[in-house]
Amino acid sequence: MSNSLYGPLPDVAEDAGYTGAPERRGFFTDTSVCIGCKACEVACKEWNAVPDDGFALTGMSYDNTGALGASTWRHVAFVEQTRPRQVGDGGDTRWLMASDVCKHCTHAACLDVCPTGALIRTEFATVVVQSDVCNGCAYCVSACPYGVIDRREDDGRAWKCTLCYDRIGDGLEPACAKACPTDSIQYGPLDELRERARARLDALHEEGVTEARLYGEDENDGVGGAGAFFLLLDEPEVYGLPPDPVVTTRDLPAMWKWAGGAALALAGGVALSFLGRR
C-alpha cells in the first residue's frame, strides 16, 4: 500500500487495477534541441480544442503564455542568460528553450485527492481529467507539486494535458510530439525513452556539455518518477521547475499515523480525565 503513494512502482497501470495493460507511455522532452517554435503549443490546442489564453505581452523573452494552466497544456519557456560583457565583446549569450507539460507522475497527487473520480489513471499509466465528471472543487490544483493542473475561470473545471489519450489509443503519437520539427518532444514506451535519454545525456557529457541533466526520470524521486521527463541544460529552477517535487500525498500514511496517534492520545486523555474524576 505504501508504494501506491510513494517510491518506485514497477507497473503503474497494474497498480491502478488494469490487467494486461500496454507498456507505460510517456514523453521525453530533450530541451537541448528545442528551437522554441511553439508548434507543440499550437498543435496541442488545435487537437484538444483548448481556447486561447489571452493576448498579453509578458516581457519574459519570447514567452507570452507564461506557464502551464487550464488553457495552456504545453508551455515553452524562454530563458535568456548572459555573462557580463562590454561593447564589442562577443559576450556569452545563451537562450534556453524548454517545452513543459504535465508530468503524468507515477504517484499523481491530483488523482489521489480527487473526490469525484474525475481524475483517472489510464491503461497507458497516464493521468487524465474527465471533464464531464469534474465538479470544479480544485483540490487537484493545490495538490500538484508542479503547479500544472488548473481551473478554467469561465467554466470552473480543472484541465490539463491528457497525453492525447484519444490519439495514443489509436496508435498515433500525441499532437505536440507529432508537430515538433526537431524531435525535442519524443513520445513512446517510457522504458525506451529513459534508455534513449541516458544515451543522449552521455553523448552530451562527452561533447563537453557537462551541465546537461535529466529531470523527472529517476523513479526514486518525490513522485516516483515522471511519465513525462526532461533533459535540461541548467538547474530546474532556471526553467521554473521545482528542484525536488514531492507528491503531496506522500505523507498521508504518516499523517494518518500521527493523526491516529493524536486521536488515541486525545481519547486516552479524555478517558484519563474521566478516570481522574472518579
Binding site: 534541441v33 522554441g36 508548434a39 505581452l57 503564455t65 535568456e80 561593447v87 549569450t93 528553450m97
Partner: protein, 862 residues
C-alpha cells in the same frame, strides 16, 4: 532559419547531430543562434565585406580547390584591356555613365571581343536611347520625380547579345598568372577586404573572423563541403544580388557547388516562392526563366530569341522552350506562319515592379489592382505610400483568407487616424473575395530545393471561399464571354488562349492535375512528354514551363510521390519531383573531377563509369557525354560544351567568378553602404551602389548618411509565431496569443542611452513616419564597435497592422522605397532611425513629429 523555417531547420539539427558545425551570422541573436555553435553579430548591410574577406583569405592563402577552379570556372579567362576595376576608379567599374547612373557592360567582356550571354539576369533589356525610367533617379546621379515615361526609341546603339555566342573564351591562361586573367583580377579586387576591414565595417573581431575562415577552409575540399544558407537578410538590400554573387565566388573557389553538402541555399519568404519564380508572378519573366520581351521595334521571335539567351549550353534549345510555351498558351492558333503568336505577348516598357506600380497608383496612372494573397499595406516597404496608392485606385480586388489591411485600409489605416484620408474621400471600390487555403484545394508547393510537392485537398472551402485557380479560370471565361465576336485584333490574344479545363468537386474547380499536365507538356499526338529534351522548336510540342517538363511523366503525377525516406536511397528521388528532370543537386557533374571520378569516396555523388554518367542522383549532364569530349567548332546548344563543363546553362559551361554580362551593377561584388547608413564607406569613395533605384519624392524622403537626427540602425524581420504581413496569423487566436504585440528589441546599452524601459513603450522615427512598439531590452541585441564608434541596432518584427485579433504599428511604414537595380527588391534589412521612450503622438500630431525630425535633419519638406 530556426526562426522563419522551423520545419526545414530540422535538417540543420540533424546535420548538427552528425557533427556539422553551425555558424550563425545575424545582427541579432535568434532561435537559430540559440542552437548554433557560434553566433556572430554583424552590422546590417555589411555582409559583402565579410564574404569578400573570406574570398581574400582563400585566395591569399591558396586554399582554393585548384583543379575545380581551373576547369570548372572562368578563373583563367583573360579580360579585355578596357576593363577597369573599382580599384582604379574609386569604387566604380568601367562603363559607368554618371548622367544616367547606369553601366554599359561592354568593357566587362572577355578579351577577344567575345560577349557572353548570361544564363539569367538582365536579358533582352532596354536598348540605349530608351528612357524607360524617367521617374527613377538612379544612384547618386541627378533625376527628378517626373514619372515614368516610355519613349519611343530609335534603332540606336545596343549592347544586346550578338548571334556569335560561341561560348568558350578565346584567351585563357591556365597558369592563372596573367595580370588580366579573372583569378588575378579577383585577387586584386578583394585584397582590400581584410580582417581589419571586417572589424571596422561589420563589427566582427579578427579572432572571430579567423575562426570562421579557418572553419570553412578546413571544411571544404575533396573530402568535405560547406553550405551557405541565406534568406531575405541577403536579398533585401540595394546590393542584394551582389551579396549572393559574393557567396557564389567563395563557394566556387572552395569547390562547393554541384556537390553534396555544398551550395548556396536560398530560403524563401513563404511557401512556393520558388514556384512563383519558376512559373513567375514577376513582371519581367516568363515561365522557365525566359525573359519577358521588351517593347523593341519590330522584334519578332527570332530576334527575341537572339537576345533572350546564348546559343550554347542548354539555353541553346531556347527556341524549343519558347515555341512549346506559346503552343501551350495559344494551341492551334499558334503556327509557324504567325511566329507562334509571339506578338500576342505583352511587352515591357520599363520597370513594372511592385514599387514602381505603387508610385504610379499615387500619380493616378493605375486604375485597377488585384491582390491575391498579398498584404502590401503591411508587408511592403513605405507602408504609407502603399496605402495612398490603394486609396488612389478606381477599383481593387482582394482575395485573401481574412479581411486584411489592404482590404480595409479605407476605414482603419493609420492615414485615417492622422486625418490624411477619410473613408468618404476614398474613391476606391474594394471587392473582397474570400480565398480557399492550401488545405482546401489541390496543387503543388515548390520549395527552395526546386522540389515540387503535391498537396491534396483535404476539405472543401467553406461558403463563398474559392481557390485561386477557380477564380482566375472563371474570370478568364467571363472576359472571353464579353469579348466574344469581337473583330478587334487586340482581343485575339485573350480569345485564342487555350482556356478549357475539366472541372471537379462541388465548386466545379478546374482540375489542378490537368494544369500540371499542361505544364508538363504534350507531343503532337497528345501524349505526355517525358522531359524538356523532348521539346521541339517546330510547334509539334506544347509545354507550360520547360523546366517542369517531366513532372507528369508516364502519366503519373510525380510530384505526389511520398515514398518514405527509410524505403529508398539517401537522395530520396521518389519523394516529390525536383526540376529539372528530378535532379536533386544542380550542376552535379561538378561532384566528379574533370576525369569523371568522385573527388573523394566520402563525397561521391555522380561519376563516369567508363560508358555513362551514373551515381546516386540523376546526372545533370548528357548521360553518355564522356569527360574527354571536346566540342567541334560550330557546335550548338549542349553539344558546344566540353565533357568537363558542368555549368550547363552557361554559354561556356563554366561557373562565373567574374560576370561579363547579366548584372546591371558590376561584374564583381563591391561593398557599398546601405542607402541609409550611420557610417561612410570605408572601402571606396563611392558611398552607395551607384545604380540603385531611388525615388526622392514626397512621402519617400531619405535620411542623410551619418545623421545625428537618425543615429540608429534598424533591421526588420519575422518571428516564428507569425506569417509575413500577418494575414495568416494575426487573425488566429492560437498564433496571436504567442506574440500578441508589436515590439522592438534593443540592447541594455541603448536602453540606458535613450531611457527605454523594458515592457514600456517606445517611438521609432524615420523620415517617412513614426511607429510605436513595446520595448524588449535584451542581451541578444549587442552594440557593435564600428570605426571607433558604438553603433546600436534596433530589431523590428514587421507582422502587425491595424486589423486582426492583435494589432499594432507596422515596421515597414518606417522604410523608404530604395531598390536593388537588378531585382527591384527594396532595401528593408538596413536603414536608420531614432528611438525615444513613450508612445507616439496619436492623430494629426504624428505627422507633425515626423516633419519636425525631417526639419532637424535638413531633409526637404514633403
Amino acid at each position: 532559419m530556426a526562426e522563419c523555417h522551423p520545419v526545414g531547420f530540422q535538417w540543420v539539427m540533424e546535420a548538427k547531430a552528425r557533427g556539422a558545425r553551425i555558424f550563425h551570422i545575424d545582427p541579432r541573436f535568434t532561435r537559430t543562434s540559440a542552437v548554433a555553435h557560434r553566433h556572430m553579430p554583424i552590422r546590417a548591410g555589411s555582409d559583402i565585406v565579410l564574404l569578400g574577406a573570406l574570398i581574400n583569405h582563400v585566395l591569399s592563402g591558396g586554399h582554393d580547390l585548384r583543379e575545380y577552379v581551373l576547369r570548372y570556372t572562368n578563373a583563367s579567362v583573360i579580360l579585355s584591356e578596357d576593363f577597369q576595376d573599382t580599384e582604379d576608379l574609386g569604387g566604380l567599374f568601367s562603363g559607368y555613365d554618371a548622367e544616367t547612373s547606369s553601366y554599359d557592360p561592354e568593357t566587362w567582356a572577355y578579351a577577344g571581343g567575345e560577349q557572353e550571354a548570361p544564363a539569367a539576369g538582365a536579358r533582352d533589356e532596354q536598348e540605349k536611347g530608351d528612357d524607360p525610367d524617367g521617374g527613377t533617379s538612379q544612384g547618386d546621379g541627378p533625376g527628378g520625380p517626373s514619372g515614368r515615361i516610355t519613349q519611343e526609341h530609335g534603332p540606336g546603339a545596343t549592347y544586346e547579345a550578338t548571334s556569335s555566342q560561341t561560348g568558350h573564351a578565346d584567351e585563357r591562361d591556365e597558369t592563372l598568372r596573367h595580370p588580366r586573367c579573372v583569378y588575378q583580377v579577383l585577387k586584386r579586387h578583394f585584397a582590400r577586404y581584410t580582417p581589419e576591414m571586417v572589424e571596422q565595417i561589420c563589427g566582427i573581431a579578427p579572432d572571430d573572423f579567423a575562426e570562421l575562415a579557418d572553419a570553412i577552409v578546413a571544411n571544404s575540399g575533396r573530402d568535405r563541403t560547406t553550405a551557405w544558407v541565406y534568406s531575405v537578410g541577403w536579398t533585401q538590400h540595394t546590393v542584394g544580388a551582389q551579396y549572393i554573387r559574393t557567396a557564389s565566388i567563395l563557394q566556387l573557389l572552395l569547390g562547393n557547388i554541384g556537390r553534396p553538402g555544398g551550395g548556396i541555399l536560398a530560403l524563401r519568404g513563404h511557401a512556393s516562392i520558388q514556384g512563383s519564380t519558376d512559373i513567375p508572378t514577376l513582371f519581367n519573366l516568363l515561365p522557365g526563366y525566359l525573359p519577358m520581351p521588351y517593347a523593341h521595334h519590330h522584334e519578332d521571335l527570332d530576334t527575341y530569341l537572339e537576345r533572350a539567351a546564348g546559343d550554347t549550353g542548354f539555353w541553346g534549345r531556347k527556341r524549343s522552350y519558347m515555341v512549346s510555351l506559346l503552343k501551350a498558351w495559344w494551341g492551334d492558333a499558334a503556327t509557324a506562319e504567325n511566329d507562334f503568336c509571339f506578338d500576342y505577348l505583352p511587352r515591357l516598357t520599363g520597370d513594372h515592379g511592385t514599387y514602381h506600380t505603387v508610385l504610379d497608383q499615387i500619380e493616378g496612372k493605375v486604375k485597377g489592382y488585384f491582390l491575391l494573397g498579398e498584404n502590401p499595406a503591411v508587408g511592403s516597404a513605405a507602408g504609407r505610400l502603399q496605402r495612398l496608392g490603394l486609396a488612389a485606385l478606381d477599383w481593387l480586388v482582394v482575395r485573401d483568407l481574412q479581411l486584411i489591411e489592404s482590404a480595409t485600409f479605407w476605414k482603419n489605416s493609420p492615414e485615417i487616424e492622422t486625418g490624411e484620408l477619410t473613408p468618404e474621400g476614398i474613391g476606391t471600390e474594394v471587392f473582397f473575395l474570400p480565398a480557399a487555403s492550401h488545405v482546401e484545394k489541390d496543387g503543388t508547393f515548390t520549395n527552395t530545393q526546386r522540389l515540387l510537392q503535391w498537396h491534396h485537398k483535404a476539405i472543401d472551402p467553406p461558403d463563398d471561399a474559392r481557390s485561386d485557380l477557380w477564380f482566375i479560370y472563371r474570370l478568364g471565361l467571363r472576359i472571353r464571354e464579353r469579348l466574344e465576336g469581337s473583330a478587334d485584333p487586340v482581343d485575339r490574344p485573350v480569345l485564342d488562349l487555350t482556356w478549357d479545363y475539366p472541372e471537379e468537386g462541388p465548386h466545379h474547380d478546374p482540375s489542378a492535375e490537368a494544369v500540371l499536365r499542361e505544364i508538363n507538356g504534350y507531343d503532337a499526338d497528345g501524349n505526355i512528354l517525358s522531359g524538356f529534351t523532348a521539346l521541339k522548336d517546330d510547334g509539334s510540342t506544347s509545354c507550360g514551363c520547360w523546366i517542369y517538363s517531366g513532372c507528369y511523366t508516364d502519366g503519373v503525377n510525380q510530384t505526389a510521390r511520398r515514398k518514405p525516406g527509410s524505403e529508398q536511397s539517401w537522395v530520396a528521388p521518389e519523394w516529390g519531383w525536383a526540376w529539372p528532370s528530378n535532379r536533386r543537386i544542380l550542376y552535379n557533374r561538378a561532384s566528379a573531377d574533370p576525369q569523371g571520378r568522385p573527388w573523394s569516396e566520402r563525397k561521391a555523388y555522380v561519376w563516369w563509369d567508363g560508358e555513362q554518367w551514373t551515381g546516386h542522383d540523376v546526372p545533370d549532364f548528357e548521360k553518355t557525354k564522356p569527360p574527354s569530349y571536346e566540342p567541334p567548332p560550330d557546335a550548338k546548344a549542349e553539344a558546344a560544351l566540353a565533357g568537363t563543363d558542368p555549368f550547363i546553362m552557361q554559354t561556356d559551361g563554366k561557373g562565373w567568378l567574374f560576370v561579363p554580362r547579366g548584372l546591371v551593377d558590376g561584374p564583381l561584388p563591391a561593398h557599398y553602404e546601405p542607402h541609409e547608413s550611420p557610417v561612410e564607406n570605408l572601402l571606396y569613395k563611392q558611398q552607395g551602389n551607384p545604380v540603385r533605384q531611388t525615388y526622392d519624392r514626397p512621402g519617400n524622403r531619405y535620411e542623410p548618411v551619418d545623421s545625428d537626427v537618425y543615429p540608429y540602425v534598424f533591421t526588420t524581420y519575422r518571428l516564428t509565431e507569425h506569417h509575413t504581413a500577418g494575414g495568416m496569423s494575426r487573425f488566429l487566436p492560437y498564433l496571436s496569443e504567442l506574440q500578441p504585440e508589436m515590439f522592438c528589441e534593443v540592447s541594455p546599452e541603448l536602453a540606458a542611452e535613450r531611457g527605454l524601459v523594458h515592457g514600456d513603450w517606445a517611438t521609432i522615427i524615420s523620415a517617412r513616419t513614426a511607429i510605436e512598439a513595446r520595448v524588449l531590452v535584451t542581451d541578444r541585441v549587442r552594440p557593435l564597435r564600428i570605426q571607433g564608434r558604438v553603433i546600436h541596432q534596433i530589431g523590428l518584427p514587421y507582422h502587425w497592422g491595424s486589423a486582426g485579433a492583435v494589432r499594432g504599428d507596422s515596421a515597414n511604414d518606417l522604410l523608404p522605397i530604395v531598390l536593388d537595380a537588378n531585382t527591384h527588391i527594396q532595401e528593408s534589412k538596413a536603414a536608420t532611425c531614432d528611438i525615444r521612450p513613450g508612445r507616439r503622438p496619436q492623430g494629426p500630431a504624428l505627422r507633425a513629429l515626423v516633419r519636425r525630425y525631417r526639419r532637424m535633419a535638413g531633409i526637404p519638406e514633403d
